[in-house]
């Protein structure tokens, strides 16, 4: 009996210890698809967040307090995103960098809004994310309505008079992007020959590929994620079809090339100007390289999202989500991606997209404006 009491005492003491440690730290979260078919992007986000927190803590933290990271896994599933959001909100976390999939970020943002949590997404590009006039959301990436225009302009120039097909995966992100691109293409006087949707998670696209082959398609625009796009491409080549595939920002992970195999060469996608090449990112890219991590895709965007919040929280001298958000929208912030300002909706003021191309060595690079 006595020993039981002792254990109880020890347990109580350790709880007290951890609670006091908790009081000195600020816990923030990164949430995204840490498992499932989009987990490559979850890993990008976690890498970015880990490095951001290490660097911020090394520089003294926020207002003298250290940051701690909590990781939420939504597996790119809207239902799971909502429950992750409620869990993080329940833990009184003031700020979440996330999520990745637009179909996760949007339902999660409502849970965050109800519980006073500030959300900055590094990667969700669907316009609806900021268009619902929620007070607590912002994003450090672009929007699909801009991305669609850039894709459409490129297609109109480089594939004039060719046969175009548009596919989408029916997700918030995929369908949203495909619709924006189609709208812009139609405005430019180009009508697609095929417009189809498929199911995210499918593996067999042979039927749809044969259909594209029948229609003599030269360019397939895919609004969807990298796994399905990679499989579509692979099955196109298996059926002897040489059409070029073009897609959105969800192709910016090397995993795309390992799924598509040699067929990846020549595939194009739109994404912000390579964050790894920005002068502001040089020192941080070196740190990643030292750890043998390629900070590709949304890694540095996640880093930037955490920087924005940290600087604003330090300036506002509070972690209260409403005050920090007011500060974020009022100011301009020095991030790894350069200076960043936000409009009233929470979108960044300067959005630019460029076209990238995969080469035969499994790397991607911007196509320079002169066209190479």
């Amino acid at each position: 009996m006595k020993s039981l009491k002792l254990i109880g005492l020890a347990l109580g003491a350790s709880f007290a210890l951890s609670a006091s440690a908790f009081a000195q730290d600020i816990t923030i979260a990164v949430a995204g698809p840490m498992t499932g078919s989009e987990s490559a992007f979850g890993r990008q986000m976690k890498n970015g967040a880990d490095q951001a927190i290490a660097d911020i803590n090394a520089a003294g933290g926020v207002g003298g307090k250290k940051l701690k990271l909590e990781v939420g896994d939504d597996a790119c599933d809207p239902k799971q995103a909502r429950s992750v959001a409620e869990k993080l909100a329940g833990a009184k976390i003031p700020f979440v960098a996330g999520h990745f999939c637009s179909s996760s970020s949007i339902p999660a943002s409502e849970a965050y809004a109800d519980s006073n949590v500030l959300q900055i997404t590094p990667a969700s590009t669907n316009p609806l994310f900021t268009e619902r006039k929620l007070w607590n959301v912002a994003r450090v990436c672009g929007r699909d309505d801009q991305q669609g225009i850039v894709a459409a302009n490129y297609i109109a120039k480089a594939y004039k008079g060719k046969n175009i097909a548009i596919l989408n995966d029916k997700t918030t992100y995929g369908k949203g992007l495909a619709d924006e691109t189609k709208k812009s293409l139609n405005k430019l006087g180009i009508t697609e020959k095929v417009n189809e949707s498929y199911n995210k998670g499918d593996k067999d696209f042979n039927a749809i590929v044969s259909r594209l082959k029948k229609e003599n398609i030269d360019l397939v625009y895919v609004g969807g994620y990298h796994q399905e796009a990679g499989l579509i491409l692979r099955q196109m080549r298996d059926q002897g079809m040489q059409a070029v595939l073009m897609a959105g920002d969800a192709m910016n992970d090397k995993e795309f090339a390992s799924i598509a195999g040699p067929a990846a060469a020549g595939t194009m996608f739109t994404f912000g100007p390579d964050p790894r090449n920005k002068p502001t990112a040089k020192a941080i890219v070196e740190k990643f390289k030292a750890k043998n991590i390629d900070p590709e895709g949304y890694t540095l965007y996640t880093y930037a999202a955490i920087q924005v919040w940290t600087q604003a929280a330090a300036k506002a001298k509070t972690t209260d989500a409403k005050k920090v958000m007011e500060t974020i929208k009022a100011g301009e912030w020095d991030t790894v991606l350069g200076k960043m300002g936000f409009d009233a909706k929470g979108d960044i003021k300067v959005i630019d997209y460029v076209v990238y191309k995969w080469d035969d060595k499994g790397n991607y690079a911007e196509i320079n404006p002169k066209g190479s």
Partner: protein, 305 residues
């Protein structure tokens, strides 16, 4: 016409993979009268073992593709069969004389165990492989430049399926083991009285089912070029549907059901809309079951008293 031929090829290959998995469902149902919900995950395990053994063999410096593929096939069949045997031994056999739903619940639990086991041990990401069997043949060049293409991997998938189907049909109809299996299917108690080792026969059924699922897993890996820990679920549901459509308990029925589901999905995507291919496949399943409650080749079940 060319377009139709191309889609026929697509559908047959997809159907072959469904059929291979469906055989496992149908054999177990025929003999034990239970739906082995973990079978889809056995298929997933088969895919992973094929991937792992492929990588191991390549790292040993083997370069002859046919030798590698044959070894991978044998290894993944053997190891996956061991999984099938173990699962039957620990999860189903102790519950065999329990109430009817118990083994089914145990199977659903086993399915989660296998999914989470591979998620934890192999990681949650998709595992791609570069194309291993490449190349193909242009069967017919159409007038508008539409070429009917048959890739080598498609030939491999269909041939493997046919050979294995023939082999296992022969086992069930001509060998001692097959006779024991058919005896257990009719009446386990009577079979036991006549000297059939029922436990062993049931174990062998699971072993064969798992081995076929391993082949399907390997074909899937070669054909689509990737495996992941959750691929067993959808494939398992489709294959189960195929088994029911073909008449659960019937071996050729499972194959026929698999081909039917593959062809329906493909032709629906080819001529109507891709979005509704699953709706189409399941609607046809319902219609078939209304008019033929035992499936295409199933025998009416006699209630055993």
């Amino acid at each position: 016409m060319d377009y139709f031929a191309q889609q026929l090829i697509n559908g047959l290959v997809l159907g072959s993979i469904y059929g291979l998995i469906a055989i496992g469902y149908t054999m177990v149902y025929g003999i034990v009268g239970m739906i082995n919900f973990a079978h889809g995950d056995i298929f997933m395990i088969g895919g992973f073992i094929a991937l792992i053994s492929f990588l191991v063999l390549v790292s040993f410096g083997l370069t002859a593709i046919p030798v590698i593929l044959l070894l991978v096939l044998l290894v993944s069949m053997a190891v996956t069969a061991l999984y099938g045997w173990t699962i039957e031994r620990i999860a189903y056999r102790p519950l065999r004389h329990s109430f009817r739903l118990a083994p089914m619940l145990s199977a659903i639990g086993m399915s989660f165990v296998l999914t989470n086991f591979s998620q934890v041990s192999q990681g949650a990401r998709v595992k791609p492989v570069p194309p291993i069997i490449t190349g193909g043949h242009t069967l017919h060049e159409g007038s508008q430049g539409f070429a009917v293409q048959l890739s080598n991997i498609q030939i491999v998938v269909v041939l493997t399926t046919l050979v294995l189907l023939a082999l296992f049909t022969w086992i069930v109809s001509r060998t001692r083991l097959g006779r024991d299996m058919r005896a257990c299917e009719q009446d386990q108690t009577m079979a036991a009285l006549l000297g059939v080792d029922v436990d062993r026969t049931i174990s062998m059924t699971f072993v064969i089912g798992a081995a076929l699922a391993a082949v399907a897993g390997m074909m899937y890996l070669l054909y689509y070029g990737l495996v992941d820990f959750f691929m067993g679920f959808v494939a398992g549901i489709k294959a189960f549907t195929a088994a029911v459509l073909g008449g659960i308990g019937s071996l050729p029925g499972a194959m026929l059901g698999g081909l039917a589901i593959g062809l329906i999905e493909t032709f629906w995507s080819a001529y109507f809309s891709v979005e509704y291919k699953d709706v189409a496949a399941f609607s046809i399943l319902i219609v078939v079951l209304i008019f033929m409650p035992t499936g295409l080749l199933g025998r009416p079940e006699v209630e055993k008293v």
